[in-house]
């Protein structure tokens, strides 16, 4: 098999949640997460609010240091084998918070041109590139180029962020809720742009979103997270049509109906997620799972292979396991 362009190996990230000594509490935001990205592939990431999607993204782009585990780019461990600076040029991120990566005192053109200049492009060249990118994300450079971040609507700002990431000519882009602030029509434009760039430049994406329709549309594979762990991962088509983890099933069943005569009457999953400071024993989902049985409360399920390239961490799949 070809070397994955980017891979996560047993990533663990715990945040301190106060307390000292034996009473020290930690939020287990990401707990032993591994996955691989093939060149040119798009991996969708979904899951409950607070399950660790953004933390995984930040670990992946090296904005956070993991407690343990590593990230490899093109087979090389980032840090020891590949210097951070070289890595950063190849892997860019678009943040959930559209203000986060824009300097409030810089115009949009300057914000986008900043990256290429740092990496050695001439000022004029970087500016031309920035204008071209603004145009490609559907913002007229003449109208929006001179504006500051607070002078744009949320959707406009998020498109500037996408342009800013593209300006580095990266190979991988991690997009954290990059289209959630957009209306459907602009969202369609941005998704088309991302798909065009993927084709033109062979870009690889990690695409985090709460919108399951969007994830289905753009992703080759999808990873479902629950409370810091990977619940299920597999090809988008088989995961959406034949989910094998009860949490994935609940998530898909919670999609709004789009039919005014058949509105939803009952939420498929009740209650809030358990506290990540003290996650449930065994399978972390067992406290809310309608199908929980014998082993669920005590044994951590391993990732059972339920179909080609499709893994589900649920005891229900135990007997049906095809290949280990």
């Amino acid at each position: 098999m070809n070397t994955p362009i980017l891979s996560a190996h047993n990533l663990v990230k715990h945040f301190s949640a106060g307390g000292f000594g034996a009473k020290r509490k930690v939020v287990r935001a990401v707990d032993d997460v591994s996955f691989e990205l093939a060149r040119g592939e798009t991996l969708g990431v979904v899951g409950e609010s607070g399950c660790g999607k953004s933390t995984t993204a930040r670990l992946l782009v090296q904005l956070l240091t993991p407690n343990s585990g590593s990230v490899r780019f093109d087979g090389k461990v980032v840090g020891p084998e590949l210097p951070l600076k070289a890595f950063r040029r190849q892997v860019q991120m678009v943040f959930q918070d559209s203000f986060a990566s824009l300097n409030p005192r810089m115009t949009m053109i300057d914000s986008i041109a900043f990256g290429p200049t740092v990496h050695g492009a001439s000022a004029a060249e970087a500016r031309r590139k920035a204008q071209d990118l603004l145009d490609r994300v559907g913002l007229d450079p003449a109208r929006f180029g001179g504006r500051y971040a607070h002078e744009l609507s949320g959707g406009q700002r998020q498109r500037v962020n996408i342009a800013r990431a593209l300006a580095f000519d990266p190979q991988v882009i991690v997009l954290d809720e990059a289209v959630s602030a957009l209306d459907k029509s602009v969202e369609a434009q941005v998704l088309n742009l991302l798909m065009d760039l993927r084709r033109e430049r062979g870009l690889t994406y990690v695409f985090i979103s709460h919108d399951l329709n969007v994830v289905r549309h753009i992703s080759d594979r999808v990873m479902v997270m629950y409370l810091g762990e990977v619940a299920e991962i597999g090809p988008a088509s088989s995961l959406y049509t034949a989910p094998r983890h009860p949490y994935t099933k609940a998530l898909l069943a919670a999609m709004p109906s789009l039919d005014p005569d058949r509105r939803t009457h009952e939420a498929p999953l009740a209650g809030d997620p358990p506290n990540p400071i003290d996650p449930p024993s065994g399978c972390r989902f067992h406290t809310r799972c309608a199908q929980a049985f014998g082993p669920c409360a005590t044994q951590v399920p391993s990732q059972f292979a339920v179909a080609k390239g499709h893994l589900a961490a649920c005891h229900l799949n135990r007997s049906e396991e095809t290949v280990a």
Partner: protein, 339 residues
């Protein structure tokens, strides 16, 4: 709780020719001649292009816009009060008393330095002059109403000690604490995952029916709009371009922009294929074209579209669309039904 009786047969909200301009160079004409009514107990969903003036319209109803830089013209009445003329005490009563608002980001509504209980109680004291004991009891009742688990303990939580979904519920509890007649919801579930989103939508629908509240719900998600709304309005470049019942708009949109917006919806699209996005970008809000603001992007545009005023097609049950072509299609459609 009984639905509060509204004054005679006035609608709860009546907006006439509302325009909102932000001064500056160039000025921004964010809302242009918007008119609509909302009955009490009715839910109006607003869909529309990013930057089309949805949030500004909601903020106008609460008078949350920067006073000195904003020029508001037209008439806005909520529960019989002239909202534009409200000052001082009356304005304070209006905000959070008669009408209140929930946001995509709860940090806009919740204060990080006070507990949830303190914040809800404070609002109740301010609007109803309740004692702090009564107010704290109401806070508890509200947290239970929005189904926050172990509500009593959560009263003492600061916003950052809650999960995203719980914060969203706390914000709803705060907004509903004084039993407003009008709730303005600006994308309140956009940041939530599907399982929590549907919980919050079902909760809002239930509370809305129980309290007989009027709701204006802004969202980008057509599925969400369908789940909560009775009627839908589509906004483009600061104007309403079409309104109708949810079923009418979803199944039979008449304005080309509404059609484009619905077609861009991903449901049923073949994964990985290019989507039917409406080509182009909306016009600059300081230099709107004569006639229909959508004409420069419209595949069916003709000379007639560039003249003002744009004709309005009206259908049954208060539905209409501001489009030359809709007037013609409408005519043929009516002919088909009644030969």
């Amino acid at each position: 709780m009984t639905p509060s009786a509204t004054k005679s047969d006035h609608p709860l909200v009546s907006v006439r020719d509302l325009s909102v301009r932000f001064d500056g160079t160039p000025p921004v004409h964010a809302v242009n001649n918007v008119s609509f009514d909302l009955a009490s107990g009715e839910v109006l969903g607003i869909l529309g292009e990013s930057g089309s003036g949805k949030s500004v319209t909601l903020k106008t109803l609460l008078r949350l816009l920067p006073e000195r830089r904003t020029t508001i013209t037209g008439a806005v009445e909520v529960d019989g009060e002239d909202v534009i003329a409200l000052q001082g005490r009356a304005l304070a009563d209006h905000r959070g008393g008669v009408a209140s608002m929930i946001f995509q980001d709860p940090s806009l509504a919740l204060d990080p330095v006070y507990t949830i209980g303190q914040q809800i109680a404070e609002t109740v004291i301010r609007h109803e002059g309740a004692t702090s004991r009564v107010a704290m009891a109401r806070a508890l009742e509200m947290l239970e109403l929005v189904r926050i688990p172990s509500a009593k303990r959560r009263l003492g939580n600061y916003p950052h000690e809650m999960s995203g979904g719980m914060r969203q519920r706390a914000m709803i509890a705060l907004a509903l604490a004084c039993r407003p007649k009008l709730l303005l919801a600006d994308e309140p579930t956009t940041a939530l995952d599907a399982t929590v989103q549907i919980q919050i939508l079902l909760l809002l629908r239930e509370l809305q029916q129980e309290m007989g509240m009027g709701v204006i719900f802004v969202t980008h998600d057509i599925g969400v709009a369908v789940e909560v709304s009775d009627r839908l309005a589509v906004m483009y470049a600061g104007s309403f371009v079409e309104t109708g019942s949810v079923a009418d708009i979803i199944r039979d949109a008449r304005h080309p922009y509404s059609k484009g917006l619905l077609a861009a919806n991903l449901v049923g699209a073949v994964p990985g294929t290019r989507l039917d996005a409406v080509p182009g970008a909306p016009p600059a809000l300081n230099a709107l074209p004569e006639g229909c603001a959508f004409a420069p992007r419209c595949a069916h545009a003709e000379d007639l579209c560039l003249t003002t005023p744009v004709p309005v097609w009206s259908g049954a049950a208060g539905r209409w669309a501001r489009c030359v072509h809709a007037t013609r299609e409408g005519a043929t459609a009516v002919n088909k039904v009644a030969p």
